[in-house]
Amino acid sequence: MSDQIIEARGIQKFYGQYHALKAVSLSVGAGEFLALVGPSGCGKTSLLKILAGFEAPSDGSLRIAGQDMTGVPASARPTRMVFQKLALFPHKTVAENIGFPLMLAGKSVAEIRASVGAMLEMMHLKESYLNRYPNQLSGGEQQRVALARALVSKPPVLLLDEPMSALDAKLRKSLQAELKHLHRNMGTSFVHVTHDLEEAMMLADRICVMRAGEVVQVGTPADIYYRPADAFVAGFIGETNLLPATFTRSGNAVRFDCPQLRCTHPLLAATQVSETLTDRSGLLMIRPELLRILEPGESADCLISGRVSEFFVRGGSLQYRVTGEGDTTLILDLPGTMALPLGVGDPVRLGCGTADLFAMRG
């Protein structure tokens, strides 16, 4: 694609002996919402700092908006950042905080006032807050001020460094919805760092999963969830069922053999096999919500029989743990019901479609 706003190639970063980023390549499309996720220490924040210009990469090239960023300081980059701890200026009022980038750009007082007023409205902040200081606002309001300051100069790229991690769950949900709404309206590219894959799935167009300084997988939320590159990505969000299996190629399809799973046609289409699967042995994934309980006499492409070992009522959904052949535990998620279909110890037959399976590296 030609309309890439960020093109990073082979980015390396060393902190002394520590290799924080190992040849990371990543591109972000104009207007795209990309989430960088991974456990702490995976290098996602280092990558964000390199994008912002706070740190220089040890090696590799970075182009933002078509321009080489080598030696370009943070102040001259077309990026704006929302900091993890917001970094609002405590000695400046809300109006001065939001208008700060415009003031530096030498805009007129009237122009700054108009832009700050527009941002205030967009962020649902009250007019009376303009002359308050950041520590006179609540956490959520401070968050909005930080977003307003970052967006007031209409930057092509907005970088977000886990700005929601300090908020309580309810406030976080409402701000996530607002962030998505903002992204739709602004046309700005968002690069959002988070360790919460659920948040990333909700917000992002594409997700980049990192681990130990490397990009493990880049893809749409559906890709990451249903077609993960390996067990690490698969296990990063929610619980899942990973069954060891052996695979043999037969033409375009892949034949699989999994002792726990009895299938009528054990063949996977090419789209159901991860590129990472190169060995004969690997893992077969079935997401818990794709399994279902079979009525007596009902059949499915793939069958598992076992006994219910535990269940959890989780409000809107119901989770069963089933011990199958060879003591493997399978998890299945069902929509919540008023009457429980099964109790602990009941024998059960589970089924799923062959199309719901996905094969990956073990």
């Binding site: 102040s75 704006r80 609002l88």
Partner: protein, 290 residues
């Protein structure tokens, strides 16, 4: 169980009593005695209890006294300005640029700070003397004999004062800069600020409490300097402390010494109150209720 923190708490009263007694005996009582003394007179080197305003009218009418007081005030202002001006870049560099060396440099400053002031001041005399190190170097550079002759002038006094008081400002300012959240400076860069704008808009305003504290410290200490005007100024332009010493010791005029002491204390107290009020207003403005 939470401890009741009230002045009516018996244990609290008891535990603060020794301190109150010490303060009362060795600070308040002498202060009142000084005040009382300043309304008396002397005759033939003896104290005369006559309760009048003679000494006070002398202090403010005789040029000799108030000119020394004004000089002290002026020297204190200049020393404060110079100490803050020199300390700002040093503190900034110590915190932001020389992190790897900061501990070593701090240690050196502490060493210099803890070395006996008399020793350091006489060191300066040897350095600035007509035949001293500085003039030796200047002569070797071909600038003639005794190129600088500032020893025993107010300039030498100022060099000594700034040298001896500089660590106070360096440490208070460095401390307030080190406490500053680094992300705030990054946020300023990110918003498009140059290094200079970030310094002016973010670092300096937020380091202001440290700058004010260091300045007040140097100002108050400057009012009482004794060694530098004596040793480096050569006694040619005495300051308040020397005048007070003379009044008590040489002239045995205790009421005069007491009145001059009170003038210095009042100047110090007024400047402390003024800066304190300034700092309080700044923090109120930010909404941080103390």
């Amino acid at each position: 169980m939470a401890v009741e923190k009230s002045w009516r708490d018996k244990a609290l009263q008891l535990s603060t009593l020794p301190l109150l007694v010490v303060f009362g005996t060795f600070f308040l009582v002498p202060l009142v005695m000084t005040a009382v003394l300043s309304f008396q007179g002397t005759q033939y080197y003896r104290l005369v209890w006559n309760w009048d305003l003679q000494i006070w009218s002398d202090v403010f009418s005789q040029r000799h006294y108030w000119s020394i007081m004004l000089r002290t005030l002026g020297m204190a202002c200049v020393a404060t300005f110079l100490c803050v001006a020199f300390a700002l870049p040093v503190a900034y560099a110590l915190v932001n640029r020389l992190q790897d060396w900061a501990d070593h440099i701090t240690l050196l400053i502490v060493f210099a700070f803890l070395t006996d002031a008399v020793l350091k001041t006489f060191g300066w005399v040897l350095f600035l003397d007509r035949t001293g190190v500085l003039n030796g170097v200047l002569e070797a550079l071909g600038m003639g004999k005794a190129a600088t002759d500032i020893l025993f002038t107010p300039y030498a006094t100022m060099i000594g004062m700034v040298y001896n008081l500089l660590p106070y400002t360096i440490f208070t300012i460095a401390l307030s800069m080190a406490r500053l959240d680094r992300d705030l400076v990054l946020a300023a860069y990110d918003a498009g600020a140059s290094r200079w704008r970030a310094l002016r808009e973010v670092t300096l305003p937020l380091a202001m409490p440290g700058i004010v504290a260091g300045g007040v410290l140097v100002f108050v200490l400057s009012l009482g300097v004794f060694l530098e005007p004596k040793v480096m100024g050569g006694g040619t332009s005495p300051m308040a402390a020397e005048l007070i010493r003379q009044s008590f010791e040489t002239r045995v005029n205790w009421p005069l010494g007491a009145a001059l002491t009170l003038v210095v204390i009042v100047i110090g107290a007024i400047s402390l109150a003024a800066f304190g009020g300034l700092a309080l207003r700044a923090s109120r403005k930010r909404g941080t209720q103390a």
